[in-house]
C-alpha cells in the first residue's frame, strides 16, 4: 500500500466510529420525519374543508355563496334559521370542521344597493401552531372564490356596476373560538401571529440554553478525564452526590444567566419584526399573570436541571473533550425536536403518539408552558413540572450510582483487555 493510501486508511478508521456515524443517522432521521410532517401539512391544506352554513337570506346572491360552498367544501351543517347557530357550531366541532358561514338577511339587497354585504365567519380553531393557520388556507380559498363569483354575477348583470363593489362585494365579520375563548374580530391567522412571540421565543431560548449548558457539563466531565483530575477528585472527602450536584448546579446557574441575556436579545429581535403583539393579546384576556411567570420559571429551572443531569450521564461516557462534542449531539436533537414541534403545531392538535413523545421529552415542557398558561391549561404545566422533576431525580440518582461504580475510570472492558495484553507482551520482552 502507498504511503498516501496508508494514511487515508488510518484516518478513515479513526474518523469512522459509531460516535461519528450515529449522530448523523439521528439527524437524518429527524429531518426525514420533519419532511414527512411538512408534506402531510401541505396535503392537509389542500384537502376539502369541512364546513357548515346558515343562509338566512336565501336569495339570488346568497345562493351563489351556498352553491360554491356545496361544490368545494364538505358541508356537514346546512340551515336557513339563524337560531340554529349554536347547533351548527357544535356540529362542526364534532365533525372536526373548520368554519361556520352565516349569510345574514339582506345579503343580496345590500349588494344591489352598492353596499358590500357582510358574511359572518365563525372559526373553530383547534391549535395555535403556525401549521394550524396554514390549514385554514383552504377556507380562505373558498372565500376568494365566493367573491370572484359574486363579482362576475354583478358585472354580467350590469357592466357599469360600481368597480369598488365589484372588486369587494362582501366583507368578513370573523369570530374565532379557541380553547373555550370567543375572540371576536380575529381570524386563526391573526391569533397565531399574535401568539408567535410566545411560540418562538421560549423554545429557541430553551434550546440554546440546553445546548450550551449541556455542552458545559459534558465538557466538564470530559476535561476532568482528559486532564486527569477526576481520580484525585474522587478520592477526596466529598460525597459523590455533592460532586454531581455541584457540577449540575454551577452549569444551571450559568445556563440561567445565559438564558436571561438571550431572552433580552431575542425579545428585542422579535419586537423589531413587529411579532410581539402582547398588547393585542391582552385585549382578549390572554396575559400571563405573575403566578404564570413563576410557573414558567420553575418549569425552566427544573428542565435545565433535568437536561444537565442527562448531560452529566452522557458525560460519564466521554473519554476526552473531542468525544464530549459528539455526545452533545443527541442532547441538541432532543432539544430541537420539541422546539420545532411546539413552534409549528399545537400540543392539543397532535396525534396521541406524538403527544406522548412530546410529553416524554423533558425539554418540551417549558416550551409549551407559556401558550398553555395563556389558555389556563394548568394541568399540562403542573403535570409537566412534576414529570420533569421526577425525571431529574431519577437521572441524578443514576449519575450518582455511576459515580459510585468503576464505570467512570475503567471505561470499556475491551480497552482494558488490550492494555493488559500489551503489558504482558512488554513484560515478557523486558524480562526475558
Amino acid at each position: 500500500m502507498s504511503a498516501l493510501g496508508n494514511i487515508i486508511k488510518k484516518e478513515m478508521k479513526e474518523l469512522l466510529t459509531p460516535a461519528t456515524i450515529l449522530p448523523i443517522v439521528f439527524v437524518a432521521i429527524i429531518f426525514g420525519s420533519m419532511g414527512n410532517v411538512i408534506g402531510g401539512l401541505e396535503e392537509e391544506s389542500q384537502e376539502v374543508p369541512v364546513i357548515g352554513f346558515i343562509d338566512v337570506d336565501n336569495s339570488n346572491l346568497s345562493s351563489i355563496v351556498t352553491s360554491i360552498l356545496n361544490d368545494y367544501a364538505d358541508v356537514v351543517f346546512n340551515s336557513s334559521n339563524i337560531n340554529d347557530k349554536q347547533e351548527g357550531l357544535e356540529t362542526i366541532e364534532r365533525e372536526d370542521g373548520a368554519v361556520l358561514f352565516i349569510i345574514p338577511q339582506n345579503f343580496t339587497v345590500n349588494i344591489r344597493n352598492e353596499t358590500p354585504s357582510e358574511i359572518e365567519i365563525y372559526w373553530i380553531m383547534k391549535g395555535a401552531g403556525i401549521t394550524d393557520a396554514i390549514s385554514s388556507g383552504a377556507v380562505e380559498q373558498l372565500i376568494y372564490t365566493i367573491n370572484t363569483n359574486i363579482s362576475r354575477e354583478l358585472i354580467q348583470e350590469n357592466a357599469t356596476v360600481n368597480a369598488t363593489l365589484a372588486l369587494n362585494p362582501t366583507v368578513r365579520n370573523e369570530t374565532t373560538y379557541f380553547k373555550g375563548k370567543e375572540m371576536p374580530g380575529l381570524s386563526p391567522g391573526a391569533i397565531v401571529g399574535m401568539l408567535s412571540s410566545q411560540s418562538m421565543l421560549i423554545p429557541i431560548v430553551m434550546m440554546m440554553i440546553i445546548i450550551m449548558a449541556g455542552n458545559m457539563v459534558i465538557s466538564s466531565m470530559a476535561l476532568e478525564k482528559e486532564n486527569k483530575t477526576l481520580e484525585t477528585l474522587l478520592t477526596l472527602p466529598v460525597k459523590r452526590t455533592s460532586i454531581v450536584t455541584g457540577k449540575i448546579v454551577a452549569s444551571a446557574i450559568i445556563g440561567l444567566l445565559l438564558s436571561i441575556i438571550y431572552m433580552i436579545g431575542m425579545s428585542y429581535y422579535f419586537q423589531g419584526f413587529g411579532m410581539s403583539g402582547e398588547a393585542n393579546l391582552a385585549d382578549y384576556g390572554l396575559v400571563l399573570t405573575s403566578q404564570d411567570l413563576v410557573l414558567i420559571g420553575i418549569s425552566l429551572f427544573i428542565t435545565l436541571i433535568a437536561a444537565l443531569s442527562l448531560c452529566m450521564l452522557l458525560g460519564t461516557f466521554a473519554k476526552n473533550y473531542k468525544s464530549a462534542q459528539t455526545l452533545t449531539v443527541p442532547i441538541s436533537m432532543l432539544a430541537m425536536v420539541p422546539m420545532f414541534i411546539t413552534m409549528f403545531v399545537d400540543f392539543d392538535t397532535l396525534p396521541l403518539a406524538l403527544k406522548t413523545l412530546l410529553f416524554a421529552i423533558p425539554f418540551s415542557h417549558p416550551m409549551m408552558a407559556p401558550r398553555a398558561l395563556l389558555f389556563n391549561d394548568y394541568l399540562l404545566v403542573i403535570g409537566g413540572i412534576i414529570y420533569v422533576a421526577i425525571f431529574a431525580i431519577v437521572t441524578i440518582s443514576i449519575v450518582v450510582w455511576v459515580f459510585k461504580t468503576d464505570r467512570l475510570l475503567t471505561g470499556s472492558i475491551k480497552k482494558k483487555r488490550n492494555n493488559n495484553l500489551k503489558g504482558k507482551l512488554f513484560s515478557m520482552r523486558r524480562f526475558r
Binding site: K239, N420, G423
Partner: protein, 237 residues
C-alpha cells in the same frame, strides 16, 4: 492494628481477572513498595485502596475501616497520587492547593496550603496558572497536594515520575519524613533504585498475583542479587 490490611483481593474487569487474590499488610510509619511489570495489577490494587474501584472479592481495610463499606470515612485520611495525575489548568498552583484543602478540616486549611506550597517549592510560580507549568513543576505541585493533608495513608503511584534527579531526591526525602511522622506509605514505582532507597518492605506482583514479598535487603540476599532490579528480573523470569 495495621494501617492497611488486604486479604485475598480479587478484581475482575468483565471477563479479565486483573488481580488474583492479593494479600499484604502495611504498618503505620512503614513505606511499602508494590512493584511489577506493566499490566501486573499494581495500579488496580492502588485504586481499590484509594476507594476508586469496587472489589470483586476479598477485603481491604485501612485503619480498620472497610474500603467497600466505609469509603467516605477512609477518604478523610488517605491521599492518592495517581501516576498521570493532573491539576485544574485554569487555577493557579496556590488556588489549586486551596481548592483541595477546602475539603478537609476548615481550621487547618491555611496550614495545609502553606505545607503544600513548601513541598511544591515553586517559589513565585505558585501564583501562576497550572497551565503554564512544566511537567516537573506540575508533579511537584501534585506531590505537595498529596502530602499537605497529613494523610495517615499516602498512596503514591510513581511519585517522582517526570522529575529531574535533584527534585526526585527532594521528593524522596519528603516521603521518608512523612513516614517518620507516622503515616503509612503505599508506593508503586518502576524505578528500582527509588524502591530500594525508600521502601521498608516490598511486594513483587506479576499477572495479578504477589510472587514475592520481603525487606529489600532480605530479598537481595535470598536471590543473590546486587540490587532490587536483579531480584525483580529473577523473580519475574
Amino acid at each position: 492494628m495495621a494501617a492497611v490490611e488486604v486479604k485475598n483481593l480479587v478484581k475482575h474487569y468483565g471477563s479479565i481477572e486483573a488481580v488474583k487474590g492479593v494479600s499484604f499488610t502495611i504498618d503505620k510509619g512503614e513505606i511499602f513498595g508494590l512493584i511489577g511489570p506493566n499490566g501486573a495489577g499494581k495500579t488496580t490494587v492502588l485504586r481499590i485502596i484509594a476507594t476508586l474501584l469496587q472489589i470483586t472479592s476479598g477485603a481491604a481495610k485501612i485503619l480498620d475501616y472497610d474500603v467497600e463499606k466505609q469509603p467516605n470515612e477512609i477518604r478523610r485520611f488517605i491521599s492518592y497520587l495517581p501516576e498521570d495525575a493532573g491539576a485544574y489548568k485554569t487555577l493557579t498552583g496556590k488556588a489549586y492547593l486551596q481548592f483541595i484543602a477546602n475539603f478537609f478540616d476548615v481550621k487547618k486549611t491555611q496550614e495545609m496550603v502553606q505545607k503544600g506550597i513548601e513541598i511544591a517549592d515553586l517559589d513565585e510560580r505558585i501564583n501562576d496558572k497550572v497551565d503554564t507549568y512544566s511537567k516537573g513543576m506540575k508533579r511537584r505541585l501534585l506531590v505537595g497536594r498529596t502530602l499537605m493533608t497529613n494523610p495517615k495513608l499516602a498512596i503514591l503511584d510513581e511519585p517522582t515520575s517526570g522529575l529531574d534527579v535533584v527534585n526526585a531526591q527532594e521528593v524522596r526525602r519528603i516521603i521518608k519524613n512523612t513516614a517518620k511522622q507516622g503515616a503509612a506509605v503505599l508506593l508503586s514505582s518502576h524505578n528500582m533504585l527509588e524502591v530500594e532507597y525508600l521502601c521498608d518492605r516490598i511486594s513483587l506482583i506479576a499477572e495479578g498475583k504477589i510472587v514475592e514479598e520481603g525487606k529489600p535487603d532480605a530479598l537481595m540476599k535470598k536471590y543473590d542479587a546486587n540490587n532490587i532490579e536483579e531480584v525483580f528480573t529473577k523473580v519475574v523470569q
